[in-house]
């Protein structure tokens, strides 16, 4: 299976909710002989059009949330691999970045210099380096005019240098970010990471001196401004300020304030029923794509919960008949029947076993025609066999989905292995080789992409281009 990098949907659907202007691209064959519309009918068309516009504005706010989630997920995946040029692309020209207590870097040039300095003067991880920057738990607040937004996120960090330290580092902290929409494209205006802890694997957060947190993001490149907020990391107590009020006591309603955009009408209203029909059909299609984004995210989360509990038959039933499964280095399995066999091979759940398969940080792309979807998502594994062994695992999925008779299913599931490590050692001391095909159970096709897991450096291919620059 190959993952094709198709043109970023995010960038091209700019202002797609400028409904009727788009609809009018249909050849106006009837233009010469357009029937006269009675004033009564004209009033009905105008009223329906107004309602369509109001629904479109609300739908656009839903889409804004999806795009902001994708933007921050993309940021995390780029940081993982120190793809600093891609990170910088996500910012506005005068955007700011502040990691930990290292001060504020202002503007793309300054941010680039700073980020390069974190990896020895050039982008990309250094040999043996791990920099997983897991993005979790968004609380996103759109401005009433839909042109800016704020969001709180949590980052969970798995860092380290193979063969050094005590098995790696765990980090945790809070982002409070601001975003703006420029020409219909969401960008980062300010990014502020409050570090809570950055702790050596051995001993963990409760035993780490706060100096390890203070070193997070340290650079010899001088910041443009001192830290915007003074605080001490754990074990001191500091609650990063919330950009939002309590959603219940402040009576938060999503989309409550979506006024008509100022003077940005995309065109004049439809003048015939046919034009109105085209306009409503376009709206219906876009709302359907938003629904699909939710359905596909639910589907992928459900998959993870089934894997937790070894619900093997339920898992294989999530696949289309014509589908593929490729996990780590176990090779490609073709078709739902073979996937069913594969899953059965993994066996039933047992007392004394833990098989947690967390599905995190989705980046979701629904195709223009709404019939297929792609998702990058992160796998985070907790294994356990009581009294014997525990493991951490981390990897990346690039999955595709297809809608059959209105139901979303997996079309291709591909999981890339970053690391599986014994709990007692940690990833920077021990990382399993790529999982080979099951003995005596060969796949239908060999592993489709050759790579080695950590400590080798490998970036699983992205199904999307940079959501801001298209890089």
């Amino acid at each position: 299976m190959t993952i094709t990098s198709h043109v970023s949907v995010t960038r091209l659907t700019v202002a797609v909710f400028a409904l009727c202007a788009f609809a009018f691209q249909t050849p106006l064959h009837a233009q010469g002989s357009r029937p006269q519309v009675s004033p009564d009918l004209q009033a009905k068309i105008a009223a329906a059009y107004e309602k369509a516009q109001s629904i479109a504005r609300r739908a656009e706010r839903v889409r804004d949330i999806d795009q902001l989630r994708n933007l921050q997920a993309a940021y995390g995946y780029y940081v993982d691999k120190a793809l600093w040029d891609d990170v910088v692309d996500l910012f506005t020209e005068n955007g700011t970045m502040e990691l930990g207590l290292n001060g504020v870097y202002v503007g793309k040039k300054s941010i680039r210099r700073y980020l390069y300095s974190l990896t020895g003067g050039k982008p990309g991880l250094r040999p043996g380096e791990l920099n997983n920057h897991i993005q979790l738990s968004p609380v996103i607040t759109l401005a009433p005019d839909g042109q800016s937004a704020k969001a709180r996120w949590r980052a969970l960090i798995q860092g380290g240098m193979y063969g050094k330290g005590s098995g790696g580092d765990w980090g945790s902290g809070i982002y409070e970010n601001e975003y703006v929409k420029e020409n219909g494209v969401w960008k980062i205006q300010s990014l502020h990471f409050y570090v809570k802890f950055y702790a050596p694997y051995e001993g963990g957060w409760t035993k780490a001196p706060k100096e390890t947190a203070l070193r997070y993001g340290k650079s010899n490149v001088r910041p443009d401004r001192p830290p915007s907020v003074k605080y001490e990391p754990y074990p001191a107590h500091f609650t990063p300020p919330f950009h939002y009020e309590n959603p219940v006591t402040s009576s938060y309603v999503f989309g409550a304030s979506a006024p008509a955009p100022k003077g940005s009408s995309a065109g004049s209203p439809p003048r015939t029923v046919a034009e109105l029909e085209a306009c409503v059909r376009r709206l219906e299609h876009e709302v359907d794509r938003l629904q699909s984004a939710l359905d596909v995210e639910n589907l992928n989360s459900i998959y993870g919960y089934y894997v937790d509990k070894s619900m093997q038959d339920a898992i294989s039933a999530l696949f289309a008949e014509e589908s593929t499964l490729e996990i780590l280095g176990r090779g490609v399995f073709l078709g739902r029947d073979r996937i069913y066999e594969y899953m059965r091979r993994l066996g039933a759940p047992q007392q004394g076993s833990l098989f947690n398969h967390m599905q995190l940080q989705p980046y979701i792309t629904i195709s223009q025609d709404g019939t297929t979807a792609k998702m990058r998502t992160r796998l985070f594994v907790m294994f356990g066999r009581t009294g014997q062994a525990a493991q951490w695992g981390e990897g990346i999925y690039e999955n595709t989905f297809v809608r059959e008779n209105g139901v979303w299913k997996y079309k291709n599931l591909q999981g890339f292995q970053t690391f599986y490590t014994n709990y007692d050692q940690g990833w920077a001391r021990q990382s399993a080789k790529i999982f080979a095909p099951f003995p005596g159970y060969p796949p239908d096709a060999p592993q489709s992409v050759a790579y080695d897991p950590y400590p080798a450096l490998f970036t699983p291919p992205f199904h999307y281009r940079n959501p801001v620059s298209g890089r």
């Binding site: 329906a48 963990g204 938060y252 999503f254 919960y305 007392q351 833990l354």
Partner: protein, 245 residues
Amino acid sequence: MKPGYCLSAAAAALFLIPAAAPADPVVTDNTVITEDRRIAILQAKLASLQKQVELLEDAKAIERLQQAYGYYVSEGMGSEAAALFSDSPTASIELGQQGVYVGKERIRAFLTHGGEGLKEGEIRESPIMQGVIHVAPDGKTAKGRFRMLVMSGMAGQDGRWTEGPFENEYVKENGVWKFSKVHGYTTVSGSYDEGWHKKPFPVEGPLADLPPDRPPTEKYEAFPSFYLPPYHYLHPVTQKPVAWD
């Protein structure tokens, strides 16, 4: 192509996009389907689209509410977390094997048990993730499964990993989404230094000095036992329940 009279610059960019929606149907007999009838059909379609968008807005609001809960819990802000619940006398919270607390005042007492804020040296990072959200068709209630992964402990002592799902319920009151039920399960909890395979901890039981209003709704044990917290949803493809016999 003559795009016509209505194009703005932004909309012009759209012409780069291949048409995704099906082509316009050709209406050839407007004596059967009159223009008034066509308008009526469109009005009904718009009403249904508005409903669908409202349900999508609901899902966004619910995710936001759920994540807000996680941030409050992480900071030990028990009163703020309790404020996220409905005022209904049946609102409830149940964590682990601690039993059920019913009504907002009892929920607040439970969430602030041990005091407001974290203790000196305490940490309780509680990210919430992996949502499965289903809003009822009438848009008044919803259910959600989420996962919580907790990094906790006291400075200088052994830390702890804890993980498990929530099966929560939500209600919309005057347009505002609130929790009607929070039910958190513990799948695994273990020592940081030794690992859950060597030193697992049992699910937390009832508070001695603040007994619950009802006993736990389900009796179960954490790892190394196996327990499946029931799914609130059917299998998304087969539409059948998924559970172990």
